[in-house]
């Protein structure tokens, strides 16, 4: 028999009290340990900042406070029946009665569910966890079982935003959110190196040396837990919390509730008899960081209620420094200086730096249920090879990818009857056969068609356009897309970058792309068709996405014809292929007289149309809509 996941080997985890710095992260974890009702914590930050170390160290503390409240780790590759619970094959075999094997959710009940790299978790598991967290009950209806059990847990997740964003629904589910970064103080860094070395030299001895301090923290958590129950917030403070969340344009009421609970937990942790404004301010940023929209007005002044029972210890103008708003996905430093223009270029050409990069709206290719080949994460697809993540099983007549575990579970209840006339332990009939349903995320083929004509050079348009293309490239990188790039200027279009998975090459090319000359838009579109055709022939299941970046001011036709007319005629023809999705990014100056030629092209193509300034995923609400 296999016991539930147990601690592996005698190597102890790095102790909580030995973690240096990262005070806000530690505070968030402590608050969650004191009151799991806060709803857990999300730790975002660059790699190598002790995120996972801290989360796992918390497990040790929790065990010391309450043996029942454990920290259960959910691996990214868990299968559904192991998360929700399913049929216990061995027990069913023995008794002939369907027996329930509790899953990860059952084990996390009353404790903490920990997910490392939570932004990489597959959607089907996210849905399961969200359902359970929403209602506090886990309902299992599978494999002839019908079970439900209580399931309340605090969710702790760690993530590196470079790897992609988190679904807004899941984001909101975390009570608190903290950003971590590396320490800048050399003294702190050196101490950190030394402790790590000491730990790795002898983990056991290191843990023993920290045991007393850890025990003290655990005892303080236990005291705070008990004290929490007796603490209430004054009406004045509740009003203040309301003002605070409203001033931050936070959607919904979850933030208010989280701040209230966290403030009480913080007061209990500080050993105060009542929660104060300081407690609210200490926790507010953690509850608002992932919920507020872009604008960041200063917080309202704390309540000036002279006969309030808790006078503020600190005048309002000394409130703790505010966290910066969540950093946009790509590094803002993208606006680097451009290299000098290549020599020998003809007069009139100019070279523009890459403008500011930003997180782009979600753009997905045509979706379908075709079985595909490939790897990436823009879309999800069922896969026909024995590749991809095994997510669930289904019964099958012809079985090429047998799900042995599911097949055995299907066969188990019938064994008492079948075994009578057989000498093997398990008799499997054809109707028990189950096959694996695998899923993998697929990247797309994205073709950029970029206008590099002289008109793009005016008034920083190319800077903005390059910024937009770079943002799209970064997005493509996170989704493991294949990209190619066509540029058009003067009289012709050229495939500047053949299809490649190396987004870096595309970036280098973009940086060095000069601007100048007339606008052969029709030639650009023709070249796009020329590039797409072989890709579609080679893999008929591919669904390319073409992003045309232009102001639409075509002035060179195909054979000396009219620029705009040629382009529109060609666009109409291209738009008829349903396999290709088109997106037009208009770079025309928003002020002054607008010709809206790019919009005409977009209509002809049947394309999604964005102005370059609308491409930005400005706030969480918009991202959510984009995902709808």
């Amino acid at each position: 028999m296999i016991a539930p996941a147990s601690s592996a080997g005698p190597r102890p985890f790095f102790p909580f009290s030995a973690i240096i710095g990262q005070e806000r992260m530690k505070l968030a974890l402590l608050l969650v340990a004191i009151d799991p009702g806060i709803g857990g914590a999300l730790i975002r930050g660059e790699k190598g900042t002790a995120k996972s170390t801290a989360a796992r160290a918390l497990a040790g503390l929790l065990a010391a406070v309450d043996a029942e409240a454990r920290l259960v780790t959910l691996p990214l590759n868990a299968t559904e029946e192991m998360v929700a619970g399913g049929l216990d094959f061995s027990a069913t075999l023995r008794t002939g009665e369907r027996a329930f094997q509790p899953g990860v959710l059952a084990r996390a009940h009353g404790g903490v569910l920990y997910i490392d790299e939570v932004n990489l978790l597959d959607d089907h598991l996210v849905d399961l966890i969200l359902d359970a967290a929403e209602f506090g009950v886990n309902i299992v209806e599978r494999e002839g079982l019908s079970v439900q059990h209580d399931c309340r847990f605090a969710l702790i997740g760690t993530m590196n935003p470079e790897e992609g964003a988190l679904r807004p629904q899941l984001l909101d589910r975390f009570g608190l959110c903290v950003e971590v970064a590396s320490e800048r103080d050399p003294e702190v860094r050196v101490t950190l190196i030394e402790r790590r070395e000491a730990y790795e030299r002898d983990p056991g001895a290191f843990a023993r040396a920290c045991a007393e301090e850890d025990a003290a923290v655990a005892a303080r958590i236990a005291r705070a837990r008990a004290a929490c129950r007796g603490l209430r917030l004054s009406t004045t403070l509740r009003g203040y919390i309301g003002e605070l969340t409203m001033s931050r344009h936070v959607a919904g009421h979850r933030a208010d509730l989280v701040i209230a609970r966290a403030a009480i937990a913080h007061a209990a942790w500080q050993g105060r008899a009542a929660a104060t404004v300081d407690d609210v301010l200490a926790v507010a940023e953690m509850a608002l960081l992932h919920r507020q929209r872009e604008a960041l007005p200063p917080p309202p002044p704390p309540p000036r209620d002279d006969n309030a029972e808790e006078p503020s210890a600190r005048p309002p103008d000394q409130s703790p420094p505010r966290d910066p708003p969540p950093a946009p996905m790509p590094d803002q430093d993208g606006a680097g200086t451009a290299p000098p223009p290549p020599p020998g270029d003809e007069a009139g050409d100019s070279l523009h730096a890459i403008g500011e990069t930003f997180r782009v709206k979600r753009i997905a290719p045509v979706e379908d249920r075709l079985r595909r080949r490939g790897s990436g994460r823009r879309g999800r697809t069922r896969t026909s090879e024995k590749q991809g993540r095994y997510v669930r099983s289904q019964s099958c007549a012809e079985c090429r990818d047998l799900a042995l575990d599911a097949t055995l579970r299907a066969a188990a209840p019938h064994q008492c009857r079948r075994r009578a006339d057989s000498r093997v332990a398990v008799v499997i009939h054809r109707e028990d056969w189950r096959e694996k349903v695998r899923e993998k995320r697929i990247g797309s083929f994205i073709l950029f068609v970029v206008d590099a004509s002289g008109s793009m050079g005016a008034r920083g348009r190319m800077v903005a356009a390059k910024g937009a293309v770079m943002s799209l490239l970064l997005d493509a990188y996170q989704k493991r897309d294949t990209v190619a790039m066509i540029t058009f200027r003067r009289r012709e279009a050229a495939l500047a970058l053949p299809p490649t998975a190396s987004i870096d090459m595309a970036g280098t090319l973009l940086r060095a792309l000069p601007v100048g000359g007339r606008t052969p838009l029709a030639a650009g579109l023709a070249k796009a068709y020329e590039t797409l055709s072989p890709a579609l022939r080679r893999d008929p299941t591919v669904r390319p996405l073409v992003i045309l970046v232009s102001d639409g001011k075509a002035n060179v036709g195909l054979d000396g014809g009219n620029g705009v007319e040629d382009a529109c005629r060609l666009a109409e023809r291209l738009g008829q292929d349903a396999r290709v999705r088109w997106v037009v990014v208009d770079t025309e100056e928003p002020q002054g007289v607008r010709l809206r030629l790019a919009h005409r092209i977009a209509l002809a193509l049947g394309a999604d149309y964005f102005h370059v300034e609308d491409l930005r995923a400005t706030d969480l609400v918009q991202v959510a809509k984009g995902q709808g």
């Binding site: 592996a8 094959f89 790590r196 790795e200 575990d405 190396s502 987004i503």
Partner: protein, 337 residues
């Protein structure tokens, strides 16, 4: 049987790559190395040749999880081979386990033991490649082409040295601490940042630009292919010497000391070049200590620290989006005397 592996000691040039691999072998806590470079630069040859010079470690005899004697415990209670508990220990060459790019997830993390399930009707965990690589080297050729979901699995277990399995009816976890050695050709796409950070060291290799060296490479290769046995016996002594140097360095490593002021140099260097997180600092120190141990010194020198920066930092320097990975990293500036 392994007689047809080209000997590590006979590889011409590529000194940085060879030194990096040796450091990785001496000190598993460095957690491996990424080798970037174009095709045909002896990347894979070098990794496979390691088998030749690997030291031995003590393991529980016949343990499917390659546990060290002190690791016996929770895993053994749930293991399908309870007889291991009674048996003694054995010395074993550390393993180089190759993770093929097309490997399925089941093979990597482990799966339900088919035979036990059908014969005895019980669930048992059949260990996968991660268990096989415990305390050894997990080698991924073309690591940038690895499927996303397999990368996720590697990140999961590399983070804490534990493989947690919640699938196919099995709930199990076992230690999986391995050095990750990967080779890649950057022209075929870059690595995900989280995975990149898991490699302790990073070197970029290029084909030799020295005509004499190129001739030497061709001649040795030809000699090896013409008569492998003779070639191997010719290189037996250099190989033995290298293996002995590695074993000696392993013994020396725990006693290597470092002046505290140089830790400040390391921290200052990492802050200056702009390294994400703290793993760079930690790995840089370990690399410097390992270099000292390999060079037979009891104390880390300034040269060790400068050389360590070359290995530990190129892939950690915070880059502008889409900027190339650094090839050269400036070492720490000398502190004022």
């Amino acid at each position: 049987m392994q007689n047809n592996i080209y000997p590590f000691a006979a590889i011409v040039g590529q000194e940085r790559m060879k030194l990096g691999l040796i450091l990785t072998v001496i000190n598993p806590a460095i957690s491996g190395m990424l080798i970037r470079g174009e095709k045909g630069t002896a990347k894979s040859t070098a990794v496979r040749a390691l088998a030749d010079i690997l030291p031995q470690v003590e393991v529980v005899r016949d343990c499917p999880f390659h546990l060290a004697p002190v690791e016996r415990g929770a895993v053994c209670r749930d293991c399908a081979r309870p007889q291991c508990r009674e048996t003694d220990t054995a010395a074993r060459k550390i393993a180089v386990v190759e993770l093929p790019v097309g490997a399925t997830e089941d093979r990597v993390v482990g799966t339900l033991d088919l035979e036990k399930a059908l014969r005895e009707g019980v669930k048992h965990f059949e260990p996968g490649l991660l268990a096989a690589a415990h305390r050894g080297i997990l080698y991924v050729d073309e690591v940038n082409l690895l499927d996303d979901h397999v990368v996720d699995v590697l990140l999961d277990s590399a983070a804490m040295g534990v493989n947690t399995v919640e699938r196919e009816g099995i709930s199990f976890s076992h230690p999986a601490r391995f050095s990750l050695v990967g080779t890649m050709n950057p022209e075929e796409g870059e690595l995900r940042p989280q995975l990149l950070d898991r490699f302790g060291l990073c070197v970029t290799v290029e084909g030799s630009r020295d005509a004499a060296e190129r001739v030497e490479i061709m001649e040795r290769r030809a000699a090896f292919e013409a008569d492998p046995a003779a070639f191997l016996s010719r290189w037996a002594e250099p190989s033995r010497q290298l293996a002995a140097a590695i074993t000696a360095a392993i013994a020396r490593y725990p006693a290597v000391t470092v002046a505290r002021e140089w830790l400040f140099d390391i921290a200052a260097c990492c802050i200056e070049v702009g390294v994400d997180g703290h793993r760079g600092d930690i790995i840089m120190l370990k690399t410097a200590k390992t270099l000292a141990a390999y060079h037979g010194r009891a104390e880390v020198s300034r040269e060790d620290i400068e050389e360590a920066a070359q290995f530990a930092l190129p892939h950690r320097v915070r880059r502008q989006p889409l900027q190339d990975i650094a090839r050269e990293v400036r070492g720490p500036r000398p502190t004022a005397a």
